[in-house]
């Protein structure tokens, strides 16, 4: 166990290190912070002054070393733009993002698993087709279009739902739906396919031969198996969503989330925020992935024992 954990940790650390390095150099290669941080219309004299002030005059490599050192003493520096510790900025944004992500995932699970099962069971009838059409729609509509249409309909015209921020449960409804759209589409498809695979398996016949009612057969035997496949997919999807953030959704709903923060700090070349932000997200994704792997291994007894002949 220890060595397994160690190996996983090493691998995580390695990925993490690679990301750290890539992010560091990519940010620097992609533009000079000076062009963003010090503002427009600056004499060369002032420019030098500010470059020195923001410590951008050090050689790239020593900046990199300093950045690595930050990991040991926990000092990731101040945002160039907001002038406060990046850790504070990023952490402030993570929770709202996580909340949104969680509610989107919850909604996705609630909707797409039953839909996927229905589509698999009734694949030959109109029910299956209808479900899959709905799922396709999820793929087909850009999420910001969905979001803006919802805003116009439910807030602008009907005045049912608030648009700004994350204050109350009501605030979650639209962003959650907008964010879950693609996820629901994907997961419905995966569930359907996983379920179809399972429906044809011999053990399903066995379960029926035992005299189990059809519902029990599908939920207890079918879903339990398909669930494992679904789990592996959902982990990836969630990780992807966490990583891709939901800049667009966050912008539309003025949601103080990390996606918005990352894109903005990238646009403004706020290296410290960007680096710390990306790393936090990457870490989260890596951890989610590892957790899903573990859960997957745990849920599938065939993987629980790595002993094989």
């Amino acid at each position: 166990m220890l060595s397994y954990a160690l190996r996983t940790l090493t691998r995580m650390a390695l990925t993490f290190f690679v990301i750290v390095t890539i992010v560091f150099f990519a940010t620097r290669l992609s533009g000079n912070a000076v062009d963003f941080v010090v503002g427009e219309g600056i004499t060369s004299e002032d420019r030098e002054l500010l470059i020195a002030y923001y410590e951008l005059d050090k050689p790239l490599f020593s900046q990199y070393l300093a950045f690595l050192r930050a990991f040991t003493d926990g000092q990731f520096g101040l945002s160039f733009i907001e002038r406060r510790p990046v850790s504070q900025i990023v952490l402030e944004r993570i929770w709202p993002s996580a909340q949104l992500l969680l509610s989107a995932v919850a909604l996705t699970l609630l909707v797409s698993i039953p839909l996927g099962i229905a589509a698999a069971i009734w694949r030959k009838s109109w029910v299956g087709s209808a479900v899959m059409m709905v799922a396709f729609l999820g793929y087909a509509v850009p999420n910001f279009v969905l979001a803006i249409v919802m805003v116009l309909v439910f807030s602008y015209w009907l005045n049912w739902l608030p648009v700004v921020g994350n204050g109350t449960p009501l605030h979650f409804i639209m962003p959650t739906i907008a964010m879950a759209g693609v996820l629901i589409a994907a997961l419905t498809r995966f569930t359907r396919n996983a379920m179809l695979d399972v429906l044809g398996q011999d053990f399903m016949r066995t379960a029926r031969a035992k005299g189990l009612p059809e519902g029990r057969v599908i939920v207890k035997h079918g879903l339990r198996n398909a669930g494992i496949t679904i789990l592996s997919v959902i982990g990836l999807q969630v990780a992807g969503l966490a990583a891709a953030g939901s800049v667009v959704i966050e912008a539309i709903f003025a949601w103080p989330g990390i996606g918005d923060l990352l894109v903005n700090s990238a646009l403004r070349r706020d290296y410290p925020v960007l680096q710390f932000g990306v790393l936090t997200v990457a870490l989260a994704v890596i951890v989610i992935n590892a957790a899903v792997d573990l859960a997957y291994a745990w849920a599938d007894p065939r993987l629980r024992h790595t002993v094989q002949a």
Partner: protein, 498 residues
């Protein structure tokens, strides 16, 4: 107790009037901070009002003495003293903190120092005789902040370190009618009435400025009641809001030019005739009609009504003349090579549309233009050919707008896309420091002629900026302010009692 919420397109990343001169930042300072000398913002002209200084006079041509108001307290409870004033002024006049250095250099370089005479008297000295005393004491950059509080924010409480100023920009304290009760950079500023304010009490108990970047969401928030006022309404959205009987819009042609800047040093643009042609090809009136519903103001020269005596509408520095443009191009032997027009994707209202329209207009005269969208500021790049920018009126004087950017050794020259020579510098000196308005006007006209002959810039228009609000909110941008100020002081906002 009235409370309001403002849905703003942008909220500042920090709040420090000294280092800031952005369009975003200027929204926020006036509610929290005072200057020594205030201005009557209801009028365009320079109607100076006592503020933290009750009286001021020149003790000699290069020294001004100001009497401070008694009984002023900062929002943290400290009393304002001459020390605070001297500290606040010298943080700019004798700046060491680099962001201040930069800001003071372009507008305050004539100021030498402030010193305390007694508890209620300070003196300010300048290097050359200053024609713009009041104007430059009314600047946002010289708003008064508490000394002890600031110094004590980090490190040694006796010394003003860089970090103190950094910290201040997150926890600003001033003497104004509102204190900043909550500030989440880029997200929200919450003002609360400051009961210890020396002047007329603030009309609002609380005002929240919430960032809502997406236009549709901002408009919707107004409609749902989540916001009472919203900012940055593009002209195209006005009709929609006005069609709602519960809402209304106010707007004004802001004292700010959207400009096109051109790099005089770009190899392809070195010939002034090409730049003249680029300028002459742009039909700014059509842009105004189409993009601003005719509500923007297209200037003939780099001048604003707000300049008062120095307003010079008679100058014809910029015009639309495609025929001449074609001619000039031919003369200059323009080879049809591509001229890029850089623009930020979203920063300026209608900025992208204007950019595309401009390249299309160029095409009419034979200029091969291409829009180049970039987030980053390309004004300092030698590859820059042309781009959009805005040239705000930082204060009501040609120096406060044209002057800040096109001074010798100023930022434009500093960025390498504009050249000045000795001659220019001499005219500049006359324009800047002549005591006599007529002399200054004459010098400014000369500068404009120089610009016309060898253009580095074309002011496109004063954009028409709109705010929308609930019908019962009585608020409008005041003509005397610099652009974008959200003024919630007494007399600036009230509620209709219907």
């Amino acid at each position: 107790a009235q409370e309001i919420t403002v849905g703003a397109a942008n909220v500042s990343s920090y709040l420090d009037p000294g280092r800031d001169h952005s369009n975003v930042g200027s929204q926020f300072y006036y509610n929290v901070f005072d200057t020594l000398i205030d201005k009557n913002h209801d009028t365009l002209g320079a109607d100076w009002q006592p503020a933290l200084a009750t009286e001021w006079k020149l003790v000699d041509p290069k020294t001004m003495e100001l009497k401070l108001r008694e009984g002023v307290t900062f929002q943290n409870g400290e009393a304002m003293t001459a020390d605070d004033v001297v500290f606040s002024l010298n943080r700019m006049y004798q700046a060491t903190f680099p962001p201040y250095v930069v800001r003071s250099r372009d507008r305050l370089s004539n100021f030498v120092k402030a010193e305390k005479i007694d508890d209620l008297t300070v003196r300010i000295s300048v290097e050359k005789e200053e024609p713009l005393w009041e104007t430059l004491l009314n600047l946002q950059q010289v708003m008064i902040i508490p000394e002890d509080y600031t110094k004590g924010l980090t490190g040694d409480p006796k010394v003003a370190e860089d970090d103190d100023f950094e910290a201040f920009s997150l926890a600003p304290v001033g003497t104004g009618p509102y204190r900043v009760a909550e500030f989440i950079p880029g997200e929200r500023v919450v003002y609360e009435r400051f009961d210890g304010f020396w002047g007329e009490k603030a009309p609002l108990a609380k005002a929240t400025v919430q960032q809502i970047p997406e236009t549709a969401s901002r408009v919707t928030a107004l409609k749902t009641g989540e916001a009472d006022i919203i900012t940055n309404i593009a002209p195209d959205q006005l009709a929609m809001i006005e069609s709602d009987s519960n809402l209304r819009t106010v707007g004004s042609a802001t004292p700010l030019f959207h400009v096109m800047i051109m790099n005089v040093n770009h190899p392809k643009l070195r010939d002034p005739r090409i730049r003249q042609a680029m300028s002459l090809a742009i039909d700014r009136d059509t842009l105004n009609e189409a993009l601003w519903l005719g509500k923007a103001v297209v200037p003939d020269s780099h001048t604003y009504k707000e300049f008062g005596d120095l307003y010079m509408p008679e100058l014809k520095t910029f015009e639309y003349n495609p025929e001449k443009a074609k001619e000039l191009l031919k003369e200059a032997g323009y080879d049809g090579s591509e001229i890029t027009f850089d623009t930020h994707p979203t920063y300026y209202t209608n900025g992208m549309l204007a950019a595309q329209a401009i390249t299309e207009m160029w095409k009419e005269v034979g200029i091969n233009g291409r829009v180049n969208i970039a987030e980053k500021w390309s004004g300092g790049s030698p590859d820059l050919m042309a781009r959009n920018w805005s040239n705000p009126m930082y204060f009501a004087d040609p120096f406060g707008s044209f002057g800040v950017m096109w001074a010798p050794n100023g930022p434009s020259e500093g960025e390498g896309r504009f050249n000045t020579d000795e001659d220019y510098a001499k005219i500049w000196e006359r324009f800047r420091f002549s005591k006599n308005v007529e002399a200054r006007k004459a010098a400014y006209a000369e500068l404009m002629e120089r610009i016309k002959q060898d253009p580095p810039v074309l002011p496109l228009y004063r954009p028409f900026e709109s705010w929308a609000m609930r019908k019962d909110v009585v608020w409008a941008p005041k003509p005397g302010h610099i652009p974008y100020v959200l003024d919630f002081r007494a007399g600036s906002i009230s509620f209709a009692s219907n």
